[in-house]
Assembly symmetry: C2
Homo-oligomer: 87 residues x 2
Amino acid sequence: MFVVVVYDTLAERNPKILKTCRQYLHWVQRSVFQGELSAAQHRSFTEAVKGVIDLEYDSVLIYRMQTHHAVQTETIGQEFSSGSPVL
Amino acid sequence: MFVVVVYDTLAERNPKILKTCRQYLHWVQRSVFQGELSAAQHRSFTEAVKGVIDLEYDSVLIYRMQTHHAVQTETIGQEFSSGSPVL
């Protein structure tokens, strides 16, 4: 499956969620990651996310599509790259 | 089409991009909106976005799908609602 993840976590937990997302996905924009996951990886990822966020305070939004062909991406303004600083 | 929009703009421009997104879409999470747009609305929305952001600094990411049936959404942690404060 193709997933897009957007997180909104307290600043002090950003490094942990960032690290977790990086283990499974590619960085797209500040607090946005995307990539292909198998069903097993998706389960593992969501479990890992639950372990690093505060479920009472933080929010992680996951959009799942069968394939990346199901979605078209466009960027208005700055395109981020792997060389950009992660905030 | 069904669109998901994530913006990353300088704080001073947040109110403008927020207002523009609200005119076309539903708020989902801090800096994330989604909703159904016609092709004409999509063109109008992207033009409006270009008018309120700084193209040299800000970034607005738009994911387009043919229908909302093409995507499944899940939230880990806090679900935002229309009653939540928009930061």
